[in-house]
């Protein structure tokens, strides 16, 4: 898994550019969406699953197998749970100022019932 020096420089370039993109994209998020943003970005780093899979695919021997298995498991929790929970949060934002009232009351899964 080792690259050469040109490789690492390319990756560093991508890293630095991504820092600027990350800053730029988020600087315009209104504070009311901060929680979904945190949750959404939490889901996005769940893509570590791709890395966990690559590592698990090449694992050999009991120790690497167990650790790789755990890595895939934890990463799956991150990515699946992250996107699901973010969607649930954003589902609540779909009402627009005009049509807020007519939506059914009390049918929300965790609403007033308990």
């Amino acid at each position: 898994m080792s690259g050469n020096t040109t490789g690492i420089l390319e990756f560093l370039t991508i890293f630095v550019l991504a820092v600027f993109v990350g800053n730029e994209v988020v600087s315009r998020v209104p504070s009311i969406l901060h929680t979904p943003l945190m949750s959404g970005s939490n889901a996005i780093h769940g893509i570590v699953l791709v890395g966990a899979m690559i590592v698990m695919g090449t694992a050999s021997g009991a120790a690497q197998m167990v650790l790789g298995f755990l890595a895939v498991l934890l990463a799956t929790l991150n990515i699946v749970g992250g996107f699901t929970v973010t969607d649930r949060m954003l589902e609540m934002f779909k009402a627009k100022p005009g049509d807020a009232a007519p939506k059914k009351k009390g049918t929300d899964a965790e609403g007033g019932a308990k």
């Binding site: 970005s41 899979m53 990515i79």
Partner: protein, 474 residues
């Protein structure tokens, strides 16, 4: 083109989708689609990884089967948890999903390290120094994020006290642990020794714990944001280790945006990030602020729901200031019912949202959105404050620190300098509170003892529905 190029093109598309998704989160209109786009991109990228020649799945059937088992297991656990956990427990949930991501990044580093060490022992050349540095960075940051998130979860779940946990020489000890980790990490890079690597991992886990312990519950939202950013950086480090652009881009995006978000949140509290992280904020509680209530000698005025119902019904302008108490009581629907009722009677009503009310930024907005409160009734602090002086009633529902005038008037107070919602400027102030207990920051609030303040004790949902009845009868 070879397969690997196709796979990498798919990764590139996924990375672009992530950027577009984050951008979409900047407007309520596009946020949900943005998130779905990111999820779809993630599914495609993960699917493509099964065919990635670097993963060698075609040669290792056992590994393939185990990978699928782990993924199914993870999904089977994650979906119901994410679907069923109450909205109030959302911050804990984000903390835990964040922590496991950090754990995964750390494990990737460990497996790569073990695998390289194994190959080296079989005669392969020693891995390049920068490769070990990358692995160690992923390991270190991932471990801190994992154990730190676990403690944040335990604090938010109130399994341990939300107050800062301090001990003498804390900063020195934390600093020494940090130095020890650096030393071990450097030694690991120099020697490529497995035991030293394990030592670094263990100490990094310890650092995550002792770093989070002194951070008070009120600051945990900032902390989660920071740990989210850490996990992003750990994932980027995994990307460097595996030479994977998708991981580098996605991880860095989250790392950079998370740090920006963290700074915005500290700013909203009028404090610097280092003050949030290292000052054990809220541990200096004024004497006498004991358990539920009685300890205070000063008189408070407590009212009946009927009194307050009349006050609200005949007001011209009512400002509702929600806090964590609203979330705990799941009172957002009842709050909306009361507001709607008042609006029907011709009262001008809006909600004043403090940026750090609740346990996460935007926590109140999420809850009120759940109850379908229209956007135009939600005002952010800067927009709400100029209107406070003309409000007849400030109805504080389960909030405390965010309306504490000590932030403006008492230079010695730990929250001095934090912007607050100026509830004290309203003609009348009504607090719906569970008890006389101070807020999460553990600081007394003089506004509670003010002449124009009335208190109504009880669970927020309970007292709000009593107020609904009282307003209907008024």
């Amino acid at each position: 083109m070879t397969l690997i190029i196709w796979i990498n093109l798919i990764y590139l598309v996924a990375a672009v989708a992530f950027i577009v998704a984050l951008k979409g989160l900047s407007s309520p209109k596009h946020a949900r689609n943005g998130n779905l786009l990111a999820a779809a991109a993630a599914v495609v990228a993960v699917g493509a990884t099964f065919f990635n020649p670097e993963a060698h799945f075609s040669h290792h059937t056992t590994n393939l089967v185990l990978t699928i088992v782990a993924m199914v297991l993870g999904a089977v656990v994650a979906v119901p948890v994410a679907r069923l956990v109450k909205m109030t427990a959302m911050p804990q949930l984000v903390a835990i999903f964040n922590g496991v991501g950090g754990g995964a990044a750390a494990l990737i580093s460990i497996v790569v390290f073990l695998s390289d060490a194994h190959l080296h022992s079989l005669g392969a050349p020693k891995p390049a120094v920068y490769a070990i540095v990358e692995a160690m960075l992923g390991l270190l940051i991932g471990c801190v994020s994992f154990s730190g998130s676990a403690i944040a979860f335990i604090k938010l779940q109130e399994l341990i006290t939300g107050r800062p946990i301090t001990y003498p020489g804390q900063q020195v000890i934390n600093g020494l642990v940090g130095v020890a980790i650096l030393g071990l990490a450097v030694a690991t890079v120099a020697t490529d020794n497995v035991a030293l690597m394990v030592g670094t991992a263990v100490l990094s886990l310890v650092l995550g714990i002792i770093f989070v312990l002194p951070i008070g519950g009120a600051d945990v939202p900032v902390l989660i944001s920071l740990l989210n950013s850490f996990t992003g950086l750990a994932v980027a480090a995994s990307g460097f280790t595996l030479n994977n652009n998708l991981l580098i881009i996605a991880g860095t995006l989250v790392g950079a945006s998370g740090i920006l978000l963290t700074r915005m949140m500290s700013k909203a509290m009028g404090r610097s990030l280092s003050n949030v992280l290292f000052s054990a904020f809220g541990s200096v509680v004024t004497a006498g602020g004991g358990a539920d209530g009685a300890a205070e000698t000063r008189q408070v005025k407590s009212g009946t729901p009927e009194d307050i119902g009349v006050l609200l019904a005949y007001a011209r302008k009512v400002v509702i200031i929600p806090g964590y108490g609203l979330a705990v009581a799941q009172a957002q629907h009842t709050a909306r019912e009361l507001a709607d009722l008042l609006i029907e009677r011709g009262v001008e009503v809006f909600y004043a949202i403090h940026p750090v009310a609740g346990r996460m930024p935007g926590h109140m907005n999420v809850l009120l959105a759940e109850a379908n409160v229209p956007y135009d009734e939600l005002k952010e602090m800067d927009e709400a404050n100029p209107e406070m002086a003309t409000a007849d009633v400030a109805l504080v529902v389960g909030a405390n620190d965010t309306v504490n005038p000590a932030a403006k008037t008492t230079p010695g107070s730990p929250i001095y300098g934090m912007p607050i919602i100026n509830a004290d400027e309203a003609a009348n102030v009504v607090f719906l509170k569970r008890s006389m207990r101070p807020g999460f920051a553990g600081i007394d609030n003089d506004l509670l003892f003010d002449d124009k303040t009335t208190l109504l004790f009880g669970d927020a949902k309970d007292t709000l529905s009593k107020l609904v009845t009282a307003v209907q009868e008024a």
